[in-house]
Subunit: 439 residues, 3 copies
């Protein structure tokens, strides 16, 4: 065990405070409030701005708050399904997202400077929240097997690489990806899977006692699931062009998710023992419709088309959890704690493919099907290569890493309260029975 | 037990996927995006549309999201109070609502076709969410005693009947029911009670071990309660006429709910043992003010009037839980798991009556008191008769139904995780004490 | 124990219903709907109104709902961290806030009468919600050690005193305090600490078995933390001037909170045993940045300035929890259950001081630094003196007060369900082992 440096004292505070202080200095140099006088907001959404003071600088604020809830409640609670890893799930999620949004605003803003400054607007805050989603997806793949210091390193690197890929795909290639099936979901999933591969732990080949849920931890996770499910139309439409395109993105996502629920439930029952439903599928595969409809959310695919995408996404996601994840773990050494491959990876690729088809069919003016395909390839490539390199850096012993037997266990990094009161009482009763027995 | 077909394998996937595929085909034929060029949105709210592209197709979106949260988090978690039925409560709630909103959009839209098409707008999505509320209310009456297949059948039938009654009441009779005390709450409650009556289980006459809460399940339920309580002003005002009528609906609901909390707490303490508060009352009766003020939410009843309605609603709801529900169960064979009669039934009728009085007193121009009364009668009639017929169909053995001893138990339809870790530890301790005792 | 009158029957219903009925009568006399024809909304925000019907009476509604969520979910669940006090935390929070908003609307409205009437608008509803925040902060200081009747008395008195101080500070002195660091946070904290001092319990000097968390209660509390954290930008900007000032308030709060997370985590790890994180710090100190940036949220302090404020706030808050709270309890007799001094007290003062500096540096036109200082002094003075007097009134035996051994225990005022099912099973197993042992 001496190889593991699990004591975070000094190491973690130094990294966390150091990164924050560097960030604040960069903000002092580069970041100012939006004054509405700049043109363009990135993503080619010039419609959001003009040369005068913005008439409604707060217009996107409700959308921003929906996305904010997805990032902090949605992702945070979705990962609390593990029986003894809830503090880390929701707590480290908060840490990574709070740092990530600051870093993301810088990394994305560098491509859109005005007089050498990044001008913060609600639009930029939404994109900053988006950039953290990539990290939280990857976090799901390595959940329970990494230290907070490792994860802060991953946050910096992944968001930096994300910003490069997103700029390339959206601005340079002119790809349409309004709900970010490719640039966030597929990218984040394969990045996380590559990290997980590099950090492969043979010692967990046969599972781990704490790598599972208890009854109430599954209910906490459903808080995350349902908030993600409800607000996904905001995620996919937040940066769409105002007016009918934004409405289209909302409707397509709403209907895709609704159809996806039915297929996720149906397939879960079909593949499980005695036709029972499996919480893992319900918590995750019901969301695959939101991922998969992302790229073509603002395209004229028709309500019917959106529902078909959702139906397929719920199906492949559930099947992935049941049949593919075990194979990835045993044959490829990819231990994907939350099954992000099934929720974000495959549905993200499906989204990219659907976008290629939709563009080829002329469902949106502007982008070309070839460029859409290049955007998907780029996102997968940046994700896999970036994740592998990041995994190698994360593997350096200096960052600390939990030993196998302490994986999936909050008590390594958190003060965990004494056992439940009930338990103390049952112990008391057990003692009582002992005394009786002895008498 | 051979009479019960509880294994859902094949049966559930076939029904769920079959319904979804039929729905997608219907959407392919009938449903298109709103282009803002149609007139009218149902409910006589022509003010929302005009002949040109809508200036703000997303204007109602924050309202929609509030309603969405009520449907999926509010109703879902409100029902998690049962100790061993949380997966079904929040999970089946998601299933029924996700299917129901697709079906509701079709059923409501058929009354409002444009060139043979249903045009989806945020306004229609709000109404689709509303239509699912009737099912979720009825679900509360039969919670723990029905299979997911039975409930999908109920969803189809109830929403279809709801759409007929709502069209009759609102469009044909010209009744004012902005917050739907009559068309959703009273309708849904008496529909559910009629179903429960038809599905009466003598074997549960003396209660069931699992028909109760544990400490943390009551806290999960409070998540539902508080989200419903907070966003009820959005429910009651979402489809009100824009401007001051919508503001009035918000204020009346906000104040009615606030007053209702005080009376629910006061009466709970008054009727309970030693003046203690009862979580069942707090989780439910605090919301009765939102139900009861629904019909006249947009009427000029005065803040004072809204608060009086809330005060009375909280009182009768709490008294209903304490004294009326046991009588309904023992004398009339109506086993109402969540007490929807107290939260939606009686307060819904109170809301209808308050609407009659308010209209008679001229608090809103347009509707007539006689028509308001007819609307209440129609909603109750459609609910009771529709529920009874639906109950008979649900009783067909083909759909499966849990045996008495497996009621209120997730493990019949869900993979439920092993016991809590604490328990394993206490078992270990118990074993330990045993060993000691043997030694 | 005869000195304690813990049975709430009659006493609580009479007080609760009596207060509500008096309130309804006052509403009948004084309160009408906003018709948009009045000038001014208090806080000098004339920009919100004009002489004609308001163009957008619902414009602030999404902001209002965010604040609403903070009050009812945020404060309510934040306090559920105690292992056996969750019903009271979220339930009494609902009771106090529901009554408090009615009372606050009256008390604040009396300073802003139009033709002898208070005109309810969304703006006034936001301020009414704000007024309850003071009570909920003070509630945190005395959590677990007071009866619901005592707390209703506190609600009336505290909101009345708050309305006087706020009018004096904001309207008379012309102080700028958009996010209310001084008038809500510092005021509410020192009010609560003064009450706690007066209600000092020597019997709890050495702690109490129930004054701690269990694993899942800490997760429930995180629901509160994260919702407060996410929507704090709405709290600090809700009543800011529309347009860019409101945008500035959002950005400053967003960035202050993000920076604050990093310092709270870093310092928590630095001061805790083996560098572990402490849930108490994470649940609370991560929010200090929202409190501390409140006064100058709408000032031109720069993103960099906001982040510095957040960094310092997270640091002093965490240090306060670790080192100062124990000293306050043992040396000054201030038993601060939730540590409101660390989350609202010190960060509130920091916010006031930051406001003085920002105004002195010309970051906002209008207010004077001297008046800002007077506003801080006034808020502290009204809080401490008002709290002390209120504490004396709350100490009257007539209101009931829990005996020491029943502190932090829901079962005194609530029907609490039987033990967890798991426990029963482990008892069964224990019995089983007993039988085996006896055999």
């Amino acid at each position: 065990m001496p190889a593991y440096a699990t004591n975070m004292r000094l190491k973690f505070p130094i990294v966390a405070l150091g990164l924050e202080i560097i960030t604040i200095i960069l903000y002092g140099v580069f970041v100012v409030y939006d004054d509405g006088k700049s043109k363009g907001h990135g993503h080619g959404h010039d419609a959001h701005s003009n040369d005068t003071e913005p008439a409604e600088p707060m217009k996107l604020y409700p959308m921003f708050q929906d996305v904010h809830v997805m990032i902090f409640i949605g992702f945070g609670f979705l990962m609390t399904f593990l029986k003894r890893y809830g503090f880390s799930s929701v707590g480290v999620n908060l840490l990574l997202a709070a740092f990530g949004l600051q870093w993301g605003l810088l990394m994305q803003g560098l491509w859109d400077l005005h007089d050498g400054k990044i001008k913060v607007s609600i639009y930029k805050m939404i994109n900053a929240d988006f950039s953290t989603a990539t990290v939280l997806i990857s976090f799901g793949a390595v959940l329970g097997k990494t230290s907070p210091v490792q994860l802060l390193i991953m946050t910096i690197l992944e968001i930096t690489i994300f910003a490069v890929n997103e700029h390339l795909v959206v601005e340079v290639l002119g790809v349409s990806d309004v709900g970010a099936s490719m640039t966030i979901h597929a990218f984040g999933a394969y990045f996380g899977l590559a990290v997980a591969r590099v950090l492969y732990r043979p010692g967990l080949r046969n599972g781990h006692d704490n790598d599972g849920s208890v009854y109430h931890s599954d209910l906490f996770a459903m808080i995350g699931t349902v908030f993600l499910w409800m607000f996904w139309p905001s995620f996919n439409s937040a940066i769409a062009d105002p007016g009918l395109p934004q409405l289209t993105a909302v409707i397509n996502t709403y209907l895709s998710l609704a159809a996806c629920v039915l297929s996720a439930y149906a397939i879960s029952s079909l593949v499980e023992h005695k036709g029972k439903l499996d919480m893992v599928h319900i918590q995750n595969a019901t969301l695959a419709g939101g991922v998969a409809v992302g790229t073509c959310a603002d395209m004229n695919i028709g309500p019917f088309g959106a529902m078909l995408i959702g139906l397929v996404a719920g199906t492949i996601s559930t099947i992935g959890f049941k049949f593919l994840s075990p194979i990835l773990a045993s044959n490829l050494g990819i231990q994907d704690t939350c099954g992000v491959h099934n929720l974000h990876g495959m549905p993200g690729i499906l989204g990219g493919l659907a976008g290629i088809v939709a563009v080829a069919l002329g469902k949106k003016k502007g982008p070309s099907a070839a460029m859409q395909a290049a955007g998907l390839a780029s996102s997968l490539g940046f994700g896999l290569v970036g994740g592998a390199l990041t995994g190698l850096i994360m593997k350096l012993p200096i960052w600390g890493q939990p030993p196998d037997q302490n994986c999936f266990d909050d008590s390594l990094y958190w003060e965990v309260p004494e056992e439940e009161e009930e338990n103390e009482e049952s112990l008391a009763h057990a003692d009582h029975s002992k005394n009786k027995a002895e008498a």
